[in-house]
């Protein structure tokens, strides 16, 4: 039983020192003894790893420096703090101790308060380091939830993301056509759990086709192809993704219908905000994709004639008509059908 006490491994071949050091530590810590280097390495690598090792230098067989060196070479024991406890008192000895990875060096004859204080300090440092690593891992996890991995990694490494223009990006917008009416008639828990299920499905479909989710906006979902991840045919991937999103929703019988707008061209990507990071994309390509989504009937995937010309060899489609598009004037719009393949 550990009783919550920290575990200290004492490595020394001299019975007097073992008795004295054990006596000093036993009230506050659990201790185990190794009387040679080989036994110390074996105990350090065992399932119950010591929280700290007090290590003598001169021992028969493997000396303390070599033990420490091997502890620091092994991934399983590299993090265990080692304090040398030795009668080797020349400054060169101490330097060698630190060179091989020790965190402290206590000379014999030692005093109980010094041993206890040094041990306590190193254990507190280890705890603080562990806490910091856990907090860092949690921060990284959150950053990766909020931002695409490549963006999160760049922010972590450099503290910022340099905004960039990307030339050939396919932008996909979709939304739930009768969501507002549904909200008014159903309990919030029901609405949110359905929307969550829908967006999880969208995330799966976008990932399957190599698209990256940018964000959700209310009942809308924005994804791109060919931005952070290289995709061979961004536009084709976006169209296949849009068609699957529409049909999957029907299959899922959620009672909603979605509509999708797709456009392709240059976008600017970057991160805005400091309190809450938001990775986003801007530009005419994004606006046009949103406009296409706005004009298509529920269950449809709409593109401009320009985009239709680029995909018509691979997909079925039919003209919707020449429509007045806000801020763009009259534009010929096409609704896409299943892949010809």
């Amino acid at each position: 039983m550990s009783n919550g006490k920290k575990f200290i491994l004492i490595v020394d071949d001299t019975p007097t020192n073992i008795t004295v050091v054990s006596g000093i530590l036993k009230d506050q810590y659990r201790t185990k003894i190794a009387t040679n280097g080989e036994k110390a390495l074996s105990l350090a690598a065992s399932e119950e790893k010591p929280d700290l090792i007090l290590l003598d230098v001169m021992m028969p067989g493997m000396d303390g420096y070599e033990v420490c060196r091997r502890l620091k070479e092994s991934p399983g024991t590299v993090d265990i703090p080692v304090i040398f406890l030795t009668a080797k008192t020349e400054s060169g000895d101490e330097e060698e101790g630190f060179d091989v990875g020790a965190v402290d060096y206590i000379h014999k004859p030692f005093s109980a308060p010094i041993i206890l204080a040094r041990v306590r300090t190193q254990l507190a440092l280890r705890d603080a380091l562990n806490d910091a690593q856990v907090a860092q891992a949690e921060a990284d996890r959150l950053l990766h939830v909020l931002l695409p991995r490549k963006v999160a990694d760049e922010i972590r490494s450099f503290g910022a993301l340099i905004p960039q223009r990307h030339e050939n990006v396919a932008v996909l917008f979709c939304d739930v056509t009768n969501f507002t009416a549904h909200c008014d008639k159903h309990e919030p828990e029901d609405v949110i759990s359905r929307l969550d299920a829908l967006f999880v499905m969208f995330e799966r479909v976008t990932a399957k086709h190599g698209l990256e989710k940018i964000k959700t906006i209310g009942d809308g979902f924005l994804a791109v192809a060919g931005l952070l991840r290289e995709v061979e045919d961004p536009l084709g991937a976006a169209v296949r993704c849009g068609l699957e999103m529409v049909s999957t929703l029907v299959d899922a019988q959620l009672g909603w219908e979605v509509r999708v707008g797709i456009h392709a061209g240059p976008v600017v990507a970057g991160v805005v905000g400091q309190e809450r990071y938001q990775f986003d994309i801007w530009g005419d390509t994004v606006n046009m994709a949103a406009r296409m989504m706005g004009v298509v009937t529920p269950g449809g995937v709409a593109v401009t004639k320009e985009i239709w010309e680029r995909v018509k060899s691979d997909f079925d489609g039919e003209p919707v008509g020449v429509l007045e598009i806000k801020g763009k004037g009259k534009i010929s719009v096409f609704s896409l059908g299943p892949s010809k393949a």
Partner: protein, 119 residues
């Protein structure tokens, strides 16, 4: 178990330091001294034997360990003699002379412990 610290101090001990490291517990200190005396009485002979066999690392390590144990127990004079033997072995000079001093000091230390510690 009784302990006469005056006897120890007369034989080159700093018994106050030894007691301090034992948390002021005279009984524990006395027990440890007695074990030390039982265990280390043949140490000079062991060092000589190692040197005669050409095994200087073992001889040096034995002197080094004695230095550490003695200093832990507050047996400062003995620790100094052991340190001189360790240095002499390392340098290969004046080893016999240093060993002679160590032998005398160890004998005095053990004798003082046997007198100072009473059942």
């Amino acid at each position: 178990m009784g302990l006469d610290c005056g006897v120890l101090d007369g034989a080159g001990f700093d018994s106050a330091a030894g007691l301090k490291i034992m948390g002021g517990k005279a009984d524990r200190y006395a027990k440890l001294l007695q074990k030390f005396a039982d265990r280390e009485s043949g140490l000079v002979g062991d060092i000589r034997a190692a040197l005669e066999a050409g095994d200087t690392p073992t001889a040096e390590r034995a002197a080094h360990s004695l230095k550490g144990s003695a200093s832990t127990l507050g047996a400062n004079q003995l620790a100094e003699c052991a340190a001189k033997v360790e240095a002499a072995i390392k340098s290969g000079q004046d080893v016999d002379e240093a060993l002679e001093s160590l032998s005398d000091s160890l004998r005095n230390t053990i004798s003082a412990i046997q007198t100072a510690v009473t059942e």
